[in-house]
Symmetry: D4
Subunit: 256 residues, 8 copies
């Protein structure tokens, strides 16, 4: 009875109603009702909620063939697809089968948009401290855009050159949510967090050397932010930054 | 010219126009236009945006007298006030001056609600793994509630007893945002993150011993969550969890 | 229909059979069948499997009243009960209500054995490196014994005095499973692991100072053991050591 | 008297009895009785106990020639042989001399089964969180199988997609022992540990990036598991996971 | 109005005075006066203060084209330019456009000196512990020299050969500020700090292996220096060492 | 000949010249010329250079009697004396013997100023992020002032409330050197470093909790500052911050 | 036959020789000859080698009664006895039974010298960086002296006041082995290691604060010493420092 | 007067005595007596003491040309020369100029023995845990042998196969000093330390993976050894292990 789904459950109940299956027998079948089916139902339902959000493939450690195969399977759902940290050769292989797929070089991301292009909604602002943080910031941007957020980017606004950041303040204050991307000392998140009233998603990057310890310094800085609205994701995880921002943005824009 | 604001700026320009102030003098005044005033204006504006959100005092390291003084100053703004990690003796001192201030024992928080009590809006769900995580979870709850969020709590739903968590899933799925509070291995954030489509704010706690390293284990777990919607705040920072959740909830509820 | 259990499920099916509830309605009720109930059923079932294993209370961070209350609730199941890391005053409070409860001083554990005392089965050997490791080793012993394992203890057999360990080898080799408890450099686990063919559960302790870093040194040593049969639990977690050993012992003794 | 063994010891005693060696001389010989011989005897005996378990070669840092030489020496014992973390070129060299040796690509393992193939016994379940954890999980599988365990695998059952894990619960509950393989946040061990009553051997993997710190996050998570039956081995040590599981399985299956 | 500077501000005020722009319009322009412009003014002012200090490019992670482009842009300011951690091929590309640019091989630095060469002032002493620390020490030297400091270098004066250091003491005592560069145990900073009365800028290097943990040991040593005049910069950050030293030297030399 | 100094050296040479000591004997005395005496001479000389700088006692771990004894010995030199991290009872004991000694409560410092009070010179600015950082900032202030620096303090100018910091910018820009004191995320050093052209001495504090790891987060942030003029001292080491700032200030003020 | 020792072994052999025990029976007894007895024999033999070396008790974590009991048992061997990290009350209890036992206050050590006082041999030099390192240095001294080494102490010779260290160089160069005790930055070990040709045993101490991380900084410094003759023991382990030095000294002095 | 040595000092004194140099002038010359000369003298003296010990070159980070040049310079002293961690191509270059230089492949070391080969003295035992630790152990052996120690090696005696170690015990007990080389869990040092009465120099290696953290686990284990005679050097520092052992051995053998 492993693959029980709604129709087989209905069949069982009808069989009970018809007297073909007695209660004890039905009870026995129901008691062994596998978790995964209910679970799957739950997930389906919740997939429906997420509708329009991309399916995601994290490419490192997968062969080009594997990525293409997963990409094709996800594309078959009719949803948008996102492949992150994809080398150009992966894109070339995907582009053969999906000519409309796009490659975002700095972000190392491949997107496939399916169905009509919807109008971007709301406002996700992405602020990055230095030019070396750009790949992570771009991954956040590509992610948020494929999830239909309107995005503004504010790059090279690190705290050591405060005037550039202050110049961007007004735009940042108009966003529904802000993604802050910074390596080295990661101080940008706190400063932005003190300038705005909306949630700030901080993405530490591994940019730096020596006592940056591959992003640990930026991570700790951001976790200790004295600005109350700052929460943090994993080092270099631009995808999570863009994803969470897009969810908050969508909720704020009333599209939930 | 320290407190220059729009009207004094207008006065200056009119004085220039009227020929009472010459250009060099006006230039001089404008060049020295103090940053703090612009900044203060920005902050004022943004305070206005935040209106109704509590002013917060972090009590550890402050004397009872200091807390009372700051509390009184914040209360004078007419806004709600929150004092976190407050020992009972601090409350007793505050209660003498603010008899309507409330003490939330498990959360070790004092709140002062001013103006009419507004109807809580939206839905913030707070899930905590174990009973020892309760003080942090309660701090999140008190924070979110003083910020006018409707809150549901789901305590003792740790992953080692999955049935309790699954029993709470439906409610969690209905929230606008979820705060997950967990110490020891901190796995709850990932599991909840996989069950819902809304943002999850993960609060690691220092509950545990040995290789929990005072919350480090839970913190790392949460940062590495493979569920995309999870972002993390500092260890034991229930306040930040509740604050961010309330902001997202408010934005979702359309009250921005 | 929140508290659905087997009888209410049976009632529903009978109602379907009797034609009082139609299939669509039953389907609707079943689809919303709360997870926790299935879960709870699963847990009950699996509790039944575990039958005779103790219910456990980790005392630190709980008031005496809380421990007594939980203890009483667990005792009401008729199973054995174990309270770990319990101070003597907690025992005194429990002993008032449960005069047959025992206090194991070195282990700081309280046990309540209910039903007839069964004959201990199999053989769990517990080896501890130094006298300071004794509290953790004793916690393991008390845990394994309340789970009906026959236990032998081999204390003060640290690797710096190899002759004592070698003298215990024969007994260790006869056990079904061995718990090795060691702080400081934690080398005992590797040495024992090389002498026996059964599983070794290594429990690092926080005994030591300086570069022991509160048990980290012993933990890392044990994780890097070149003896293949060694697995590790948290620092000072004598309970887990005794628990896992008792489970393996029970399975080995054919009582599963 | 270096190579003293039972027969030479007997000869010595007979010589004493016959008056050919006086007591002082015998005492002298016995006092210098080399440790290694007793030790070696003990080991021999214990090798005999382990009989049927594979001899293992850890390949990294060894030249192809060295691996082949050790492999040949181990094979000469007539036991099964396992070479772990072996590159394909090592396999090619071994296959020339041992054409029946098998290469397990995903596990990067070479096995040589000697004697008749015995019927696998018991049930070791292996659960892995993500597809990237597969090499480590496969190493555990190959190890357990060459040790004659019956193995079921449950891959891609990470906690962020709980329904897949729940769908596997029934099978997991029927195993004698479970190996849980997970990187990133490593939460799977706790969740599985809460669902079953048998020992769980947790294998953290280095899968992840940033704050996974090459497996440290997963390792700490697993060590802090609040499910009591979980013990942990070194990061990426699929061999230890499979080995310990096979030992517990064998003991459970009554073959000890 | 993005590029507003003092002259355009003056023009605006004159336009107000002349009645060509009314107050409301001027107010509007001033209100939107972008922060970056004020900021930029501040920076300009402060750039003017720094006059003669190099503009710096950190090369790693930038393509040769990017470095050349930034280099050209900075050179256009008429200031000196410094590119740090530059591979020879970057230099070749720059030398094509800026034939007078120099390459400092051991320091991996490119400098472009513009305007007349000023006489070096003051005295910056650079002491390095071992020959492997030389690249970092040279980066400090090149930086200080392009900032017009007179520099003396004292290499291979590590504390394990104290006589060499003592031989350099007199010269060190005559400097205005000392840069100490050391890897491995980093003890040189403390010893030098105890011999002189001027500020010591300590630069830990990643030279070493094992428990040097890529410079962490030297970093901690230097931070814990019991000599009061020692402050520390990031691991391998010869640029910061040379920069700060040059600033202190310039201030000391009365050129501020 | 232990206390050889210039005059005894002169006496020796004169004795040689007078023929009272022969060359071999003089050679012998000179060869054994104790290192410490040369060293001591060097130090005396360099003490003279430092003239007016305080002698310092770090109180923790010393008994009140010990502190008083050392204090008296240092006071006997006629220089100013500073005792850091002194509890009030230590002050009471010192005040009995040195009634003019002052106690600086927030800084937990005792100072004894001897000779005429000189006019403070130059300008050391001290900026502190939060009120909890005040004790460390005050220790820096007291240290710099006893070393005759003119000090301005700028407290509670943390980056989360940028307007307050911007308001202090002008004063910060006028200082010869700035001490930045900050705990939690420590971002203030970078922001200040980007606003000024003078050296910034960053003092991380242990203020914070959770992932601040007792000041580690602030320390790493400051070490990774992308503003080039920032160097760092040990966590909570306000004394070093004040000391180095006073030295730089004195050098800048041309008093060297 | 557990307590077999040389005399019982002799008795067995004589019984064989006398024909009272046959060979098979003797073989059986010998085969089961417990390892610990051989081990104990080995240890006895090797104890004999060590003759005159103290038996040691590490007091922390033991009750006064336990320490007294162990002390009495060790004293019964006729050897010298050392109890380390002993509080005064432990000494008082011991002094009642062993009036000749001495208490070394700064070292927190109790010694009992038995038999005639032998003339100290050789030369162990102990150098300590600061006065706070004195308790650890004194523990080393007391240990070395009870092991009959002649000891010279050189306290307060930290590297920030190099002249004091240089003044002690001659004496250090005459020692057979040197114990260097230092906290904070621990640089003393490298400097001493570069001045002498004998082995240096480095003892890091937990003296310091902030980034000393309870002795970790000093430990790493010492491990990275570029002076080849430096080896390191655990943080604060003055006992090990003194013990190893005394062994090397004894071997050097030709008394082995 | 830079190169002042005993004869020039004598000349100066004679010139004073002869009245050719007056006291003030002599004083002036002596006052400036450069530290390095005294220092150098000290070192020369102490070099003389060390006589016969190798001059050492640490090759990594040096070009082949640099190594050859340093090698030639050291060889010119007539002493033995040792180049550690040398790749074969470095050896080839050296062999062209020094055909009698030897290459020790597993140790990656080059030695040049000059003068007559002396008879090795004493006994240094080197024990290594696994075959992967062999390069480090061989570096220790080559170092000790070029310093004229008689060396015995005991490889593959890891604690997981205790019988092999016990078989080597007798030989280990006869050594003057033991070098223990071990990676992974590093437990060998403690076990050996408990079996012998001579100093044990422990060399942790970076052999291992996962939670060995590149040798950190072995390092911590060894530092926490409960055997008192164990001191530790840096990870993979076979040279230091061999060097210290040779010094202790030489002192023990009475050759000092």
């Amino acid at each position: 009875m492993r693959a029980m789904n709604e129709s087989s459950l209905k069949a069982l109940l009808e069989s009970v109603r018809a007297g073909q299956t007695d209660v004890a027998e039905a009870l026995q079948q129901l008691r062994r009702l596998p978790f995964e089916d209910l679970g799957f139902a739950a997930v389906d339902h919740h997939r429906a909620i997420r509708c329009g959000f991309p399916e995601v493939i994290f490419c490192p450690g997968k062969s080009t063939e594997q990525v293409v195969a997963i990409f094709a399977r996800l594309a078959a759902t009719g949803n948008n697809v996102l492949a992150s940290r994809a080398e150009p050769e992966i894109y070339r292989a995907i582009a053969e089968r999906f000519p409309v797929a796009e490659y975002h070089g700095p972000a190392r991301a491949i997107t496939l948009r399916q169905g009509e292009r919807v109008e971007p909604v709301g406002h996700v602002a992405i602020a990055a401290a230095g030019t070396s943080d750009l790949p992570v910031a771009e991954e956040a941007r590509v992610t948020a855009e494929i999830m239909d957020a309107r995005v503004t980017t504010h790059y090279d606004v690190g705290v050591a050159g405060l005037h550039r950041l202050l110049g961007a303040t007004e735009q940042l204050q108009q966003a529904n949510v802000i993604v802050v991307v910074a390596g080295m000392e990661g101080a940008l998140a706190s400063v932005v967090g003190g300038l705005v009233a909306v949630p700030v998603i901080a993405v530490p990057t591994s940019v730096g050397y020596g006592a940056s310890f591959h992003g640990l310094a930026a991570l700790l800085t951001m976790l200790n932010s004295c600005a109350a609205g700052v929460s943090v994701v994993n080092i270099d995880n631009g995808f999570a930054g863009g994803y969470i921002a897009a969810v908050v943005n969508r909720q704020t824009a009333g599209n939930k």
